[in-house]
């Protein structure tokens, strides 16, 4: 085979260039977010993170505060959206982790070989469904089901718990949590499955020889072995739930200026709120509304980046530990 130096050179530099491009792109996103959100940082200060009132006061007059333009009477606080983002994602983890782990355990420990591949394929297919389709399903099927079937029963039997009282409502806290849970199950299931399949066969065989039951093997050998990897998977799922926009925009009920008083009432999340408010934000001649939305974006970016960095570190560590065979029985 003749040498082709030109092709080799092109190969080397084109790939290097594109790689730098990806890095530069992330760099520019951060660089652009900061000046855009600066007026909001100046105008709102720390109040931005401690108040629940989001009032753009679009009919106000143009004023200048601390050198930045704003509309008189406007005030911005993202607490409602931050709260909604965190609790809906938290609930997604609460519901999604047991389900995802159950799938992974079934596929690695119990299922006959013939069905493992098709089920794994279907579970991973679930991860590929566009989120807007989950949103549609949520608004047309899940919402009415919650309102008419599930929530009245929950109120009837668990209504003595304060947070579970109150009128049922189709789109809100519970609906958002459930939709997000369904969306993160495939992430948790597939990563946990990968980690669990790495459990050394010798240890499982040894445990079997000692007379441990299948459940005991899973509990005492497989799960401890895969523990760090599973935690990483959970945090990765959490990252997905935190940033999810469309599905939640459909089913959250888009609360504003109110922290949800019960488990069924409307909530709002940072990403959904940003999407739905941008058009209105363009009507603010001072640009403060857009700036405040960008500050929401910065907040969301910081949260999701932290979560993803932690998750990746843990998944990586999990694999290393598995490879070293460090386990506790």
């Amino acid at each position: 085979m003749p040498k082709t130096p030109l092709a080799d050179l092109a190969y080397k530099y084109v790939t290097a260039l594109l790689c730098c491009g990806a890095l530069l792109f992330i760099f520019f996103i951060v660089v652009i977010l900061i000046p855009y959100s600066y007026p909001s940082f100046v105008y709102n200060g720390l109040k931005f993170f401690t108040t629940i009132i989001w009032n753009p006061a679009l009919n106000g007059n143009l004023i200048t505060v601390h050198g930045v333009k704003a509309l008189s009477g406007s005030s911005y606080g993202l607490l409602v959206f931050l709260y909604g983002t965190l609790v809906s994602s938290g609930m997604a983890v609460l519901f999604g982790v047991p389900a995802g782990l159950a799938v992974a355990i079934f596929l690695t420990q119990i299922a006959p070989k013939q069905i493992v591949a098709p089920i794994s394929f279907l579970v991973e297919l679930l991860a590929g469904i566009p989120s807007v389709i989950f949103g549609f399903w949520g608004i047309l099927v899940l919402g009415p089901f919650l309102l008419h079937s599930l929530e009245p029963q929950m109120i009837k039997y668990f209504g003595f718990i304060p947070f579970l009282q109150g009128p049922p409502y189709s789109y809100g806290f519970l609906g958002s949590g459930l939709i997000l849970a369904i969306m993160i199950v495939p992430i948790i299931a597939s990563i946990s499955r990968d980690v669990m399949t790495q459990t050394p066969v010798e240890q499982k065989e040894g445990a079997k020889a000692l007379g441990l039951t299948n459940w005991e093997i899973t509990r005492k050998i497989v799960l401890p072995y895969a523990r760090t990897g599973i935690i990483g998977a959970v945090i990765l799922g959490l990252g997905r739930a935190l940033g999810e926009t469309m599905a939640v925009a459909f089913v959250s009920g888009s609360a504003i200026n109110i922290i949800p008083p019960n488990f069924y009432s409307p909530i709002n999340t940072l990403s959904a709120f940003m999407t739905l408010s941008l058009d209105s934000a363009f009507t603010d001649p001072s640009g403060m509304y857009v700036s405040a939305l960008v500050e929401c974006a910065v907040t969301l970016l910081v949260i999701t980046m932290l979560v993803n960095v932690i998750a990746r570190a843990m998944v990586k560590q999990g694999f290393i530990r598995s490879a070293e065979g460090v386990i506790r029985v």
Partner: protein
């Protein structure tokens, strides 16, 4: 290549990649061919229009082009509207209000046959995007349900607010026990009470007091679910205008705007777009919502049909959302419309005036990039507001809009004539 073909698996994947690349190239080639084909058409039409108007670089050459004066006097007025029959080749972009978008689409089809040299592309994004795109100059026409606020108008004095048609809004409710033949009555203060949380149940005395005795007896004790728009919206603008103009405490509280500071009502919820308002209201019994008139039919033909209310107007009468009532409201305020046409039509005086109506606006920069573009925009906008063309009921009935009254039409034409080249 030899080494690759020695491995059957990578040979297969190479074959797939090659096949994909071939498919993409073929698709791209076909697309390019089609694009070039249409491009050619535009080029030829440019030449024909160019030969007629001898490449319009100045406004005078435009006026010498064969302008067919079709002075049509409508029953109500004797406004003569003359339109050029040929225009230079231009690309006109429109974006904004999703309420106006269906009408722009119908208009675009008719304009395409009248002026084949113009590429006219409407888009539905939202009133805020329409306003800001016109301000920034990324589109020639920004569509908006609301006029610019005072702060916006002082920031962008070069933007014209040109009414194109009149729209209205109804109050829908999901109360299965009220038969479709009955209509609830609502006043601004009671609606403000529902949306600020001081009226929480349907059988509240304040609501009952407005109804006929038979309807009042049917009202349930359930909690009211007030639904507002989650996205910025011209519908929110006119609904909150109605509340502000009729209820002093609302005016000094949340006020009006495309987004307002909604009071925290535990049962309240929000929906995205008029379509979302219909779906959400239909999905939640005992809810109430404000919805653009274009969606009235859709609201009445849901599996659970929604009811719609009669609203108390400034004269104190409860009026239906009928064409005649919308027209009386428009006629009542048309004489007071200022030259810049930034006026709210909400809560108009008059015994039969329906209280929630508004002008649908085109936001246009007075100074365009080229004289040809200015001529095109003047022609297009004139066509849109002309009673014999765009403002004829054959177009407007399809979206339940009402034509501009004569006074407003004259003001709109005067504003359209302010559009000039650089």
């Amino acid at each position: 290549m030899k080494r690759i073909s020695s491995n059957p698996r990578s040979a297969l994947s190479t074959a797939i990649v090659v096949a994909l690349v071939v498919v993409i190239i073929v698709v791209a080639a076909v697309g390019a061919y089609i694009a070039v084909g249409t491009g050619k058409q535009t080029v030829t039409s440019t030449i024909t229009s160019g030969t007629v108007s001898t490449v319009p670089t100045t406004v005078t050459s435009v006026s010498t082009s064969t302008s067919v004066s079709t002075s049509v006097s409508t029953a109500s007025s004797s406004i003569s509207i003359s339109l050029t029959s040929t225009l230079p080749s231009e690309t006109v972009l429109e974006t904004g209000s999703s309420l106006l978008y269906p009408l722009f689409n119908i208009w675009a089809a008719a304009l395409k046959t009248a002026y084949p040299s113009i590429q006219f592309t409407p888009a539905s994004t939202g009133s805020g995007t329409g306003q800001s795109s016109a301000e920034k100059g990324t589109v020639q026409i920004g569509a908006s349900d609301a006029y610019l606020t005072n702060a916006q108008a002082s920031q962008y004095p070069f933007i014209l607010n040109i009414p194109l048609a009149i729209s209205a809004q109804q109050i829908n409710y999901n109360l299965p026990m009220i038969p479709a033949s009955d209509h609830l009555n609502f006043s601004g203060p009671v609606l403000a009470g529902i949306y600020n949380g001081s009226i929480t149940t349907w059988n509240n005395p304040a609501i009952k007091a407005l109804q006929s005795s038979s309807v009042a007896a049917m009202l349930p004790s359930n909690t009211i679910i007030p639904i507002h728009r989650s996205d910025g919206s011209g519908d929110t603008f006119i609904f909150t205008s109605y509340l502000s103009f009729s209820t002093p405490s609302w005016a000094s509280g949340p006020g009006y705007g495309t987004t307002v500071n909604w009071p925290s009502v535990p049962a309240a919820t929000a929906a995205n777009g008029n379509g979302g308002m219909v779906t959400t209201c239909e999905g939640a019994e005992y809810s109430i919502a404000y919805i653009g008139v274009s969606f009235l039919q859709s609201a009445l033909t849901q599996p659970t049909p929604l009811g719609y209310a009669y609203l108390k107007n400034e004269a104190g009468n409860y009026v239906n959302i009928s064409q005649t009532n919308i027209l009386s409201a428009a006629n009542a305020l048309a004489p007071q419309t200022p030259a810049n046409e930034r006026i709210s039509l909400v809560f108009a005086p008059g015994a039969n005036s329906y209280p929630i109506i508004n002008y649908e606006y085109a936001m246009v920069n007075t100074t365009q990039s080229a004289p040809g573009m200015a001529l095109t925009l003047r022609t297009f906008l004139t066509w849109m507001v002309a009673p014999q063309y765009g403002n004829s009921q054959s177009f407007l009935n399809q979206v339940n809009f009402i034509a501009l009254p004569t006074n407003t039409l004259q003001l709109s034409l005067a504003q359209i004539n302010e559009i000039t080249g650089p």
